[in-house]
Symmetry: C2
Subunit: 337 residues, 2 copies
DNA sequence: CTGTTAGCGCCTTCAT
DNA sequence: ATGAAGGCGCTAACAG
């Protein structure tokens, strides 16, 4: 590298132009991949860029062009791998259009939550995707097209909602267990809009079948530990439970731990059903039967909705639901006779 | 919200000044929390900001102040949760100093890898942390202080390296299994600098003990599936193996699957030892004995090294190693007599 | 293809 | 406490 470290300032477009013996405008044209640049000149500019270790300033570009090709994605916790599928789906759609996605988790901040979205908005992002239960401060984004991914309790005024149909997923879960012959079924739930819909759908279907619901975890979190605690309580009160539906895969793993702790086997004694079809459920070792929330498809549709909203900010809010599916694996089995 | 959506432009500091009936300078003072602003004026400005839905432009701020309070963190895959501890450690140190961390995974890009760091650098980040095996394009960051986290094969010229001592960790792993009485030990490794050092340390110690190493996975990846495949091959060739050390927790889970597939039990028939002490190992259900790579401490030291390098870019490259520790859990046991 | 001329939104003096 | 002026690095729109 010939990066002239003696000049302590980072090089600008002027430095490149001088070095390459061309005008600043030409450098700009090369940077934007303009076709009308002679190969020789282009090569000279590229060489100068290399030699100087030049990087265009995004700040200046943003300011001058009054737009960015980047969209922000806010999640609540990197450990909740649900967002990975969402992200891939979004990128699949946005990549070809030249957009980049910036991920920010709201737990990241010292002043938890406050600031995450502010920071994104201050970067002139072209659009915002909220993939968490929105905080108060995220509810007003008047100048930035916004789409909410996942079913939430409250969403910003003029934003679209794209989610998997958690209510249908809940019914699907109940149906799956019922068809396997289970009638003593427990459900581990938690706080948040998604869990509520899953619970509601599940309850609807079991009620139809005339089965009383054994519900645990209301108002608590949705971590593995929460799942464990809820499952322990459930099995303590109803030792004859033969099937458990957890609000997500992480909680399902907690349930597995509780079942193991009682010396019972899965699926021999108890069937376990998760939700999300996350990497966790797909694990060869865990091999958890799960409701697929189609996160990648949700990501794709989210990106499309965002593009539409960017094109026409005034368009009325849309609500799109993707149908979930069951993925049978090793943690569920027909009720033993 | 009184956000006047009729003006389609996003409001600027001028709009706020006009609305609040003050000068643009005063608004700037309020934004930077200057003390010399009368409460009444300050309130007026704050109100105007609220009413207009104003957000300062980071682009303009960056350009004008010629510095940002943000540092970039490049990882290779969001699913490798190692980075979460690193991130927390960094934030613990950087948060109080007013810095924000922007995470970017290099798999994210359509043109894999190329561009991730470019994008970060173009944002005028104050510093860069590379937490992956660096791509060619990441090796030259002449204008941005850089620190590498984790032991890697090659690192940029003038950058520091902070990592847990993988070599010592490897020895520790061997020691742990030897002390439990195991002598028929297999090791599942993979590509990359970290795995190489773990392997080397492990080998050193087992060789000392006069034990031949049963090594699998050389040149392959380090995913759960890779761990599974390597373990299957290992057990196929050496059915009498009583202990397995995996290069990371994810591979350890793969080993658990292979062991289960053979109808053997853990730790009854075979002990399994992972590395990283990731959320996976900590799982109540998986409960994997693991070498703690002290990722949070590495993050803390990484942040400190970065701050030093920002203060004095010319300082000679440092190399700091953190001592790993063993965390005993349910997948290891003394060799059955 | 080149040079010139304007800003983009904000920070920073320096006066007032 | 306020106004004016200059500049950050780049794009855009022209007139060469």
């Amino acid at each position: 590298m010939t990066a002239d470290a003696s000049r302590s300032r980072r090089p600008t477009i002027y430095d490149v132009a001088t070095r390459a013996g061309v005008s600043k405008s030409l450098v700009s044209l090369v940077l934007t991949n303009s076709a009308s640049v002679r190969p020789a000149k282009r090569a000279a500019v590229l060489a100068a860029i290399q030699e100087l270790g030049y990087r265009p300033s995004r700040a200046a570009t943003t300011l001058a062009s009054r737009e960015t090709k980047s969209i922000g994605l806010v999640i609540d916790d990197y450990r909740n791998l649900w967002f990975v599928g969402l992200l891939r789906g979004m990128q699949q759609e946005l990549g070809p259009l030249g957009y980049q996605v910036t991920v920010a988790d709201s737990a990241e901040e010292v002043v938890a939550g406050e600031g995450t979205v502010e920071r994104l908005l201050s970067m002139h992002i072209a659009g915002l995707v909220i993939a968490m239960e929105p905080r108060e401060s995220m509810l007003h984004t008047p100048w930035t097209p916004t789409v909410v991914a996942g079913w939430r309790d409250k969403i910003p005024e003029a934003s679209d909602l794209i989610a998997n149909d958690d209510e249908a997923g809940g019914r699907l879960a109940a149906n799956t267990l019922l068809e396997l012959g289970h009638t003593k079924i427990g459900h581990l739930t938690g706080s948040g809009g998604a869990a509520a819909h899953r619970r509601s759908g599940f309850h609807t279907r079991t009620a139809e079948a005339g089965i009383p619901l054994r519900l645990w975890g209301m108002g608590h979190g949705t971590t593995e530990e929460d799942g464990y605690q809820a499952a322990v309580a459930l099995l303590e009160h109803f030792p004859d439970t033969t099937a458990i539906f957890a609000a997500n895969d992480t909680m399902a793993v907690g349930a597995l731990a509780a079942i193991k702790a009682r010396g019972l086997s899965v699926p021999g004694d108890i069937s376990v059903l998760g939700y999300d079809n996350s990497p966790l459920a797909k694990s060869r070792y865990l091999d958890i039967t799960s409701i697929d929330d189609k996160s990648e498809e949700v990501g794709l549709l989210t990106a499309q909705a965002l593009m539409s909203r960017i094109a026409d900010p005034g368009r009325p809010p849309q609500r799109t639901l993707v149908q979930p599916a069951i993925v049978s694996r090793g943690t569920t089995a027909p009720l033993a006779p």
